[in-house]
């Protein structure tokens, strides 16, 4: 028996494609947790990163908080949240968001800081409002780097969202946790494969986002 046999067996078993424990259900649950966590993390990281990057203030404090947050183990945090908050979505979201905010925040800050200052000076000199300077001059140029921050956050979320299964939630982690418990290695390998495929799909989504959202003038000049 090798890994490929496990994978083959897992995906060819029609029972794995139906019901509340079927692959489509678990996949959608996983995507839902990941999107939610990414949206919350982006909701926190993007505005703070854009503002600190634009004003240039608070960069050091930001780097310190981000480093500290990166040092927190997600699984340990999950257990702690579970003890404090009980079962549910919230104890899962907190570690995922804490995991995802630093890469978003730090790359967004760095991306805005590294924008060539002369177009910004020109924009101010021609009477552009500060908010427009940020959104119409700095953001479009910083976008490729900001997207790369979002991308690494998204991939970390997708792979870490498996821990949701430990607090009785669904998602692809279900197969891994249950499989280990039931010594059903077919399930474990199948679940892990699905997570890996999802991570690759995430890369694909961001590649497309980069094509669509970044101006050719920026993409080609970098």
């Amino acid at each position: 028996m090798n890994v490929l046999n496990f994978i083959n067996a897992f995906f060819s078993d029609s029972a794995h494609w139906k019901g509340y424990d079927g692959i489509p259900t678990r996949l959608w649950e996983h995507i839902w947790y990941s999107l939610l966590a990414l949206a919350i993390a982006a909701g926190i990281g993007l505005p703070i990163g854009l503002l600190t990057g634009h004003t240039g203030r608070g960069g050091n404090a930001l780097a310190m908080i981000a480093t500290a947050a990166r040092a927190l183990p997600s699984f340990g945090l999950l257990v702690l949240m579970f003890i404090g908050l009980g079962l549910g979505l919230l104890p899962v979201m907190i570690p995922l968001v804490i995991l995802a905010v630093p890469p978003i925040l730090v790359t967004t800050y760095e991306a805005v800081r590294s924008v060539d200052p002369s177009p910004v000076d020109a924009a101010r000199g021609m009477g552009m409002h500060e908010s427009r300077v940020l959104l119409q001059v700095e953001l479009p140029v910083a976008l490729p780097l900001i997207l790369s921050g979002l991308r690494s956050a998204a991939i970390q979320i997708v792979s870490t969202a498996t821990i949701a299964a430990y607090v009785s939630l669904g998602g692809l982690g279900r197969y891994i946790v249950d499989g280990l418990y039931q010594r059903d290695y077919e399930k474990v390998v199948g679940g892990a494969t699905l997570v890996a495929v999802m991570a690759l799909a995430t890369l694909g989504v961001f590649w497309i986002a980069n094509r669509v959202a970044v101006s050719p003038g920026v993409r080609r000049s970098n």
């Binding site: 177009p119 021609m126 009477g127 003038g217 080609r220 000049s221």
Partner: protein
């Protein structure tokens, strides 16, 4: 198309800088009680070594830097009286490296200010295309992105963008410093041509005194610490520097540079020492007896080919390949005495070749004759109170 045929819309206005000081919190004084009256519809150049406060002065005019003391009046109105963004939209702003928005196409870069002023997209874009033509950019570049353009082309876009909303004032902060000398000369000539058509009030910052002398109707020389050293038309600056600092800053060859302000029209051009390439030995011998030690040989169309010794030419016939090079000719009447002198100095025979607008030889002139013309021009300059008529018909008032 568009703009050329239309009447001028917005002319430049007068800017009065009144005893303005910029002091930074750490005590550094960038500009010290500076007073300047920047005449309307002309180019005023602020020039000086780094740290002289020229850029700070420029940036105080559009309030990118707020003065610590003093007032700046634009067309008689204090610039503090209107909202800062309204003020800035009434002034074109051109910086070094152009500062183009790399995510926008050329046409959209130029349309930025009109769009901010609420113009519709189509109107702003057609205005942008009109300006591309005005600054000498090919229409095919409209849909390109800045990275696809050369440095010189990008700077043209920068100028077009600053002119897009037809502001009365244009502020230019070392706009041509980052491009190579050949492109820079092209941009300078283009700016003078555009200014001729538009009549804006242009404030131009540079550290290059040659650029200042070439572009400025008035030149303000500033010294370290933000003091005004001299404010005068360029010809007067070169003939009567106010003090040692200005003299040093103008450089050792200011006498030569001053010749740019004297026309070559007064030179006595000799046509006798010119022969056509198909001249007979008798014709050559007849021409060779004049004052010139060499004869200038031209092709059948009258374009210069090179110099030859009369005796050799008469004896051996004219062999174009063996002629001495004639160097770079000057255009009689159009070029300055400086260009004529330069031609004579560079010529292997010591004689300069004058051509007409079509490049046909109009005559030859010796270094000695140019020297006499220079002495004559200087004498005339002294009679006119130290300034030459070329550029001195503008305000020469110095305050402060």
């Amino acid at each position: 198309m568009g703009g050329y045929g239309q009447p001028r819309r917005v002319f430049g206005v007068l800017i009065r800088i009144d005893s303005v000081t910029k002091r930074y919190p750490d005590g550094t004084v960038a500009v010290d009680r500076l007073s300047l009256e920047i005449p309307d519809r002309s180019i005023t150049v602020l020039v000086g070594p780094s740290g002289c406060g020229k850029t700070t002065t420029l940036r105080m005019i559009n309030r990118m830097v707020e003065p610590s003391e003093g007032t700046i009046l634009l067309d008689g109105k204090d610039i503090q009286q209107q909202p800062v963004n309204t003020l800035r939209r009434s002034m074109g702003y051109v910086i070094q490296n152009a500062g183009l928005f790399q995510h926008r196409t050329i046409v959209d870069n130029i349309a930025t200010v009109p769009r901010m002023l609420g113009w519709g997209k189509d109107k702003a874009r057609s205005r942008a295309r009109e300006l591309m033509e005005r600054v000498g950019l090919d229409a095919s570049l409209a849909k390109r992105y800045p990275y696809q353009l050369s440095g010189g082309q990008q700077q043209r876009v920068g100028v077009a963008r600053a002119l897009a909303a037809d502001p009365p004032v244009l502020l230019m902060d070392e706009p041509f410093s980052a491009v190579d000398p050949v492109v820079r000369k092209g941009l300078q000539d283009e700016l003078l041509r555009i200014q001729d058509e538009l009549g804006k009030t242009i404030v131009f910052v540079t550290h290059d005194i040659d650029e200042a002398v070439k572009l400025g109707t008035m030149v303000a020389v500033m010294r370290t610490g933000g003091h005004l050293a001299q404010f005068a038309p360029p010809a007067e600056l070169l003939s009567h520097p106010a003090d040692e600092f200005v003299e040093d800053f103008l450089g050792a060859d200011r006498g030569i540079r001053r010749l740019s302000f004297f026309s070559s029209a007064g030179l006595d051009l000799l046509t006798a020492p010119i022969v056509a390439v198909d001249a007979t030995a008798e014709q050559i011998a007849a021409r060779g007896t004049g004052d010139a030690p060499y004869l200038l040989v031209t092709d059948r169309g009258g374009k210069p080919l090179g110099w030859g010794e009369p005796r050799e030419l008469a004896a051996d016939g004219i062999r174009p390949a063996e002629l001495l090079p004639y160097g770079r000719p000057f255009v009689a009447g159009t070029d300055s005495l400086r260009a004529a002198l330069d031609c004579a100095v560079l010529s292997p025979t010591g004689w300069a070749v004058a051509v007409d607008a079509e490049g046909r030889a109009a005559g030859v002139v010796s270094q000695q004759a140019i020297g006499e013309a220079i002495r004559g021009a200087h004498a005339e300059g002294r009679e006119n109170g130290g300034t030459t008529p070329a550029k001195s018909d503008t305000v020469t008032k110095v305050t402060g």
